[in-house]
């Protein structure tokens, strides 16, 4: 592969140094809102080698803060952290790059190189900003299908997504049933609860009320609503963590100050310091308008809406097999939300495997390396790889 070097391959389970790729998709993309992108830019990374029949490809759908850099490194700098799902993608890992060709696009509306609110609108020659069209999940799925066409991939061996990535994977299985063999839906749900929407709205209000937001035209004003975006991230981030995890990791420990009498140093708890750090770090690299676009997409998403609000009817269109996983302490997309998916799949007589992984990692459990999670994901995908190989040998 030309996009992978072995300079940083002292770790045999890492894909090493990867170079992001990109494509200008020139087929029109008709969005759910009615607007059309005549051309758009899509950034993606790939790991592993596509087989000659192009049947070993896996699509990874990223979550809210994710992007195309899911595994490996961009530089030789030993300080650099690996991609966001490096725990699961690599040689010998559950999503085994010795067996699969893994494709990870940055979704449209994003802010890591793919066309999004911070890109230049060709009609105005200014950043889209608040004028970026409201997207739906099907727009992501349609653009990913165009990327698949570009790469010559007719059928995905598997589509895998955690959290809102799982929603994309499910939407894929309904929109393009003959292009998906396996759909892995991890820590996800068929729609948001009112509580989920409430947290999203708090996050949006945090952004909008930042004076530097400038009605969304902060790029034109050469400003950045970092305070609001950091606060939005803090609100979101705390919903990804479990109570027991916060207890164990931070407890009521103090970062600064003291409770001693006669001491009036203001106190700061460890958890406060941690959340502030996470918020600031996120605000450095993320775009506020993207955050608004994606949280609104999440609120609006409802897998079964156009199937008379009946998920059984929705899934009856699917032809793939499903793997559903939830995490015991996830309260953002709780195990019960995954069970709803499983129940609908069973009622629709679709093949489904469901595991509820015991962990204190909350919603972020889907990015963890909890041994049982890694083991079951590995087993399932090993069978997927075997199916791919059987078809190869069967056809020859």
């Amino acid at each position: 592969m030309t996009n992978q070097s072995s300079q940083r391959s002292d770790d045999k389970t890492s894909v090493g140094v990867v170079i992001p790729q990109s494509v200008d998709i020139k087929d029109p993309l008709k969005l759910a809102c009615g607007q059309v992108f005549n051309q758009y830019h899509l950034v993606y990374e790939t790991y592993g080698v596509l087989n000659t029949d192009k049947t070993n490809a896996i699509l990874i759908c990223h979550a809210l803060s994710g992007h195309h850099h899911a595994a490996g490194f961009h530089t030789d700098n030993p300080q650099e952290k690996p991609g966001w799902w490096d725990s699961c993608i690599g040689p010998g890992k559950p999503i085994d790059t010795n067996k699969f060709f893994v494709v990870v696009p940055n979704n449209i509306g994003g802010c890591h190189g793919t066309t999004g609110p911070s890109s230049i609108n060709p009609e105005t020659n200014k950043a889209w900003g608040p004028d970026f069209p409201p997207l739906r999940f099907r727009d992501w799925v349609d653009s990913q299908a165009q990327l698949a066409d570009h790469l010559g991939i007719q059928v995905w061996a598997a589509i895998i997504g955690g959290s809102l990535g799982g929603m994309q994977a499910m939407r894929w299985s309904l929109e393009y049933p003959d292009r998906v063999k396996h759909c892995l839906v991890i820590a996800s749900a068929m729609n948001l609860t009112p509580q989920n929407i409430a947290f999203n709205e708090m996050a949006r209000q945090a952004i909008i009320s930042d004076p530097n937001f400038c009605g969304g035209r902060y790029l034109d004003e050469e400003k950045k609503p970092v305070k609001g975006l950091a606060l939005a991230r803090m609100i979101g981030h705390v919903t990804y963590l479990s109570q027991s995890q916060l207890e164990d990791r931070f407890g009521r420990d103090l970062r600064e100050g003291s409770f001693e009498r006669g001491n009036n140093n203001p106190v700061q708890f460890e958890i406060e310091s941690y959340l502030n750090y996470k918020g600031d770090q996120f605000a450095e690299t993320f775009d506020a308008n993207t955050y608004l676009v994606i949280t609104r997409m999440l609120d609006v998403f409802d897998l079964a809406r156009e199937y008379n609000h009946d998920p059984v009817v929705a899934f009856s269109n699917a032809t793939c097999k499903y793997f559903v996983a939830s995490f015991s302490t996830d309260w953002r997309f709780a195990p019960d939300r995954s069970k709803e998916i499983v129940n609908a799949l069973v009622a629709a007589k679709k093949e489904v495997t469901y595991v509820n992984i015991e962990t204190d990692r909350g919603h972020d459990g889907f990015l963890s390396n909890t041994p049982r999670y890694i083991k079951d994901l590995t087993s399932y995908l090993t069978n997927v790889a075997n199916e791919v190989n059987e078809e190869l040998s069967g056809a020859s």
Partner: protein
């Protein structure tokens, strides 16, 4: 493969949509998928067993079997199977009703507590039976609702269930010789294939 599995398999219609309750490591379900072309799921709550099911390619659903199968619709399955697990259930009669609600037929296998060995253990030693088939001590056994062949038949009659097939199994010579004549005394394992009346 376990002998009770061989008999269960011989009763499963080809292509049936099957639910296997407490499916263990998925051996039965995997064999039914391969040889009887069944579709369906195994239900299990043990992590290790679930992992083994996934390795075998069995569609396994993690679920605690408590009292009901409320997430499943009426007659969703052609057949619901439960092997060697009814004695572990807190409400075996309710589970049996549930099996015949979500499935048109069910197959149940259980250890016969009326077997001579168990009776002798209690009668002669005055202690709760510990046999090859029932290896646990009274305090650590997962089996909380023992029954005999006669007990099980009586329950089915009370509920008005219809017997489609029945079979008994035994390993010990004496049990093998007499199990068909006096199943309640000599069967070590009983296997029942039931359907709702009518």
């Amino acid at each position: 493969m376990r002998v009770d599995f061989e008999i269960v398999k011989s009763w499963v219609p080809e292509g049936a949509h099957v639910l296997d309750l407490a499916c263990g490591d998925g051996t039965l379900m995997s064999s039914l998928m391969k040889d009887c072309k069944v579709t369906g799921y195994g239900l299990e709550n043990d992590e290790q067993s679930i992992s083994e099911c996934i390795q075998k390619g069995v569609s396994v659903i993690e679920k605690e079997l408590v009292r009901d199968l409320d997430s499943f619709q009426d007659n969703a399955f052609d057949l619901v199977i439960m092997t060697q697990a009814i004695q572990v259930m807190k409400y075996p009669d309710v589970i049996l009703d549930e099996m015949l609600r979500v499935g048109r037929q069910c197959i149940v296998t259980f250890p016969n507590f009326g077997n001579l060995g168990a009776r002798a253990h209690l009668a002669l030693r005055g202690k709760m039976p510990v046999t090859k088939n029932l290896p646990y001590q009274w305090f650590d056994t997962p089996n909380i609702h023992f029954c005999t062949v006669a007990d099980f038949r009586a329950l089915c009659k009370t509920k008005g269930y219809h017997f489609l097939n029945e079979a008994t199994l035994a390993e010990q010579t004496i049990n093998k010789l007499f199990k068909d004549i006096r199943p309640n005394l000599f069967a070590e394992t009983a296997i029942y294939h039931l359907t709702k009346a009518g």
